[in-house]
């Protein structure tokens, strides 16, 4: 009996082996999938530093297979030696970049503002509009999610033409706000439902108005949820291509449209395309790495009740 305390029982040894094998399998699969996820990004970064022969050889590892050059970034006017001088490409890139930034930030902010208010109202008060009660109103908002963009695209094209909103930032902002609003409401409804309403009751007894209680008591508690909704909206609006391609032409183009318009030309210059793509995705990669937990929180909301 006593030797069992000091030695593994023979029966346990294969189990330990099995444990190591399962560890190995788990880490193996994790690493393989991580490589699948990260390799395209790595490939894009390295390609933007390649010369034509390096691209054709399909070199992989910088400094070993090829010497990195600023070729791709030079064509964008963003390399160290061109950053000081005038560059029309860089100017165009900056205009598109600013368009994307302004449009995605504004529409996400608008969607979070409108969506939070609506979600709060729906989680606290009962409404009646014609035959519609709260569940119907909620469903009305959420059902916008299944509306495919293509249904709205052509009517909007005509409407915007009449309203002189084609190729303007405000036109895209309106549409993007609309397209992320259901997601925001979905996330925020979950957030507000988790906040006990006794908090506001106390505030109301103490003499705050409903809006006062909402702004000073509820909003700070719901802030993490709002950040999650905001970031998720930011990702979706930054990457949106379909509406931008249809409704903008020269002034309000966003980055995805610029990236897409380069690929059509014959004889692609791989290095500048890589640099452009990478410049288009880098803001979101940074957001993804830094604010990953908010994104996960946002997407997990509603999945788990």
């Amino acid at each position: 009996m006593t030797d069992q305390i000091f030695h593994d029982h023979p029966h346990d040894r294969p189990a330990r082996l099995g444990w190591y094998a399962s560890r190995l399998a788990i880490y193996g699969m994790l690493l393989i999938w991580a490589a699948i996820c990260l390799f395209p990004i790595f490939w894009t970064i390295t390609t933007s530093f390649k010369m034509a022969p390096d691209v054709m050889k399909g070199s992989l590892i910088p400094w070993v297979d090829f010497t990195p050059k600023w070729l791709g970034w030079k064509s964008l006017g963003l390399s160290p030696d061109t950053i000081g001088s005038e560059s029309t490409v860089r100017q165009e890139f900056m205009v598109r970049f600013m368009n994307s930034t302004v449009i995605s930030l504004t529409s996400s902010a608008a969607a979070v503002a409108l969506g939070s208010l609506a979600a709060y109202g729906l989680s606290r008060f009962s409404y009646k509009f014609l035959w519609m009660r709260n569940p119907d109103i909620s469903f009305f908002f959420l059902s916008q999610l299944i509306l495919p963009p293509v249904v709205l695209a052509l009517p909007f094209l005509v409407l915007y033409k009449e309203l002189a909103l084609l190729d303007t930032r405000i036109g895209l902002i309106l549409l993007y706000t609309l397209s992320v609003l259901p997601i925001v409401i979905w996330i925020m409804r979950d957030q507000f439902a988790g906040i006990p309403h006794e908090l506001e009751e106390a505030a109301l007894v103490d003499g705050l108005s409903i809006w006062g209680a909402f702004l000073t008591i509820v909003l700070p508690i719901a802030l993490p949820g709002m950040v999650a909704a905001f970031i998720l909206s930011l990702v979706l609006t930054w990457n949106e291509y379909f509406f931008a391609a249809l409704l903008t032409s020269t002034h309000a183009n966003t980055l995805p449209v610029m990236v897409a318009s380069q690929t059509g030309s014959q004889g692609i210059s791989w290095w500048s395309m890589a640099a452009l793509s990478f410049a288009a995705i880098i803001p979101l990669i940074i957001i993804g790495v830094l604010l990953e937990r908010y994104i996960i929180k946002g997407m997990a909301a509603g999945a788990v009740k």
Binding site: W33, I36, C37, N134, P148, H197, L204, I210
Partner: protein, 368 residues
């Protein structure tokens, strides 16, 4: 959630003076009259009865915005405390109604007309011609068929996402690194993905995936020449972008399962395999169904990758409905026919999603 009655009971003695109430009603009707008046004047201007030379419909838009603001304001003026509550939902509701319902009604009108934006004739009502054209359009039916194929790919995506979520939920080191790495594809724009992966990495001569395929013994790795292969490539690219989305929802579900349930199964002598199928998987069913439903909704909008990578080719084999309508508009700039196709697609989606949600609802309920 507040299905019946208010969760917050506020007793306020609203003493709204008749003057205030009258003012509240007045601004609504005044702004409505202004809106109607502007719209009427603009319609007359368009039809040439009077000529003001207004270049666009902006004045009507401004009148509409003014009307919306007055409507919101008057809620507070007329109904006091109750109005302040309405103010939470009203802006969002007005926003959605004006941006969805009106364009949809407008879209229904264009759907039954022949309207080439580049021709000077303008819109001509052509009855059911578009419907007949659609009925005889093999490419539209082909695109619908493709959508079904694309939707079926979700099953595989779901299996992979579930596997990855299980891996991330296991006791591992560096979980944060793996979570961020697995999340990144979702952050990339489909346009950049179609360039990075589709054009560059699948390039026949030097693309690393093509080279890998050659190394594995596929002599001529062309990813877009045969219809099946092109469709498969599109599916893989789309899956690559959206698997993280399902994975995170499933991971959240897995983390919400209390640990003692699985421990109880283990104590009772269940193998990990049986433990998964008889404990974890059934518990995950509601989350799984939510994740799959949302994924289906996103899949039905699939277009960016196709437009940028294959533009529907070869021979329409990879077309999704959205990309087909986009090309239809780009090639012929006929908004009428394109809108009809989109409307039919919307109706099909609504029917499909309603049935699906009913089935999912019934399927989920008896388990609990």
């Amino acid at each position: 959630m507040a299905e019946t009655g208010d969760l917050l009971h506020v007793v306020t003695n609203d003493d709204i003076s008749p003057g205030r109430r009258a003012f509240g009603k007045a601004i609504v009707w005044a702004s409505l009259a202004l809106l109607a008046g502007t719209a009427l004047v603009q319609t007359l201007d368009q039809s040439g009865t009077i000529s003001l030379g207004l270049p666009n419909w902006r004045p009507t838009l401004y009148a509409y915005i003014l009307f919306s603001v007055c409507l919101c304001w008057s809620q507070v003026l007329v109904r006091g405390e109750q109005g302040k509550r309405v103010l939470f939902v009203l802006p969002a509701a007005l926003f959605v109604i004006s941006l969805v319902v009106f364009p949809l009604i407008f879209g229904l009108i264009i759907a039954f007309s022949n309207w080439n934006l580049s021709s000077p004739d303008g819109r001509q009502f052509n009855g059911l011609d578009n419907v007949r054209q659609m009925w005889a359009d093999p490419f539209y039916w082909n695109a619908l068929g493709n959508m079904i194929r694309y939707l079926l790919a979700i099953i595989v995506e779901y299996a992979i996402a579930f596997g990855l979520a299980l891996l991330l939920n296991a006791q591992i080191r560096g979980r944060k690194f793996f979570r961020v790495a697995f999340l990144l594809p979702l952050m990339l724009s489909p346009v950049a993905v179609s360039w990075m992966v589709g054009k560059s990495m699948l390039e026949l001569r030097f693309g690393p995936i093509a080279r890998l395929a050659r190394f594995l013994g596929w002599d001529n790795p062309t990813f877009f020449s045969s219809p099946e292969m092109a469709r498969f490539t599109i599916m893989v690219l789309d899956a690559w972008t959206y698997i993280p989305f399902m994975m995170i929802m499933i991971l959240a579900g897995l983390q919400a399962i209390p640990k003692d349930v699985q421990e109880a199964a283990r104590v009772d002598g269940a193998s990990p395999w049986r433990g998964f199928w008889e404990v974890t998987f059934p518990l995950m069913l509601p989350v799984s169904i939510t994740a799959i439903l949302i994924r289906i909704i996103f899949k039905l909008k699939l277009a960016d990758i196709i437009i940028n990578l294959t533009s529907g080719g070869p021979g329409g084999a990879t077309d999704s409905v959205t990309s087909f309508i986009y090309r239809e508009y780009r090639d012929r700039s006929n908004v009428g026919y394109g809108t009809l196709l989109a409307m039919v697609y919307l109706v099909l989606i609504i029917i499909f999603m309603t049935v699906l949600m009913k089935v999912a609802d019934r399927w989920m309920r008896p388990k609990y």
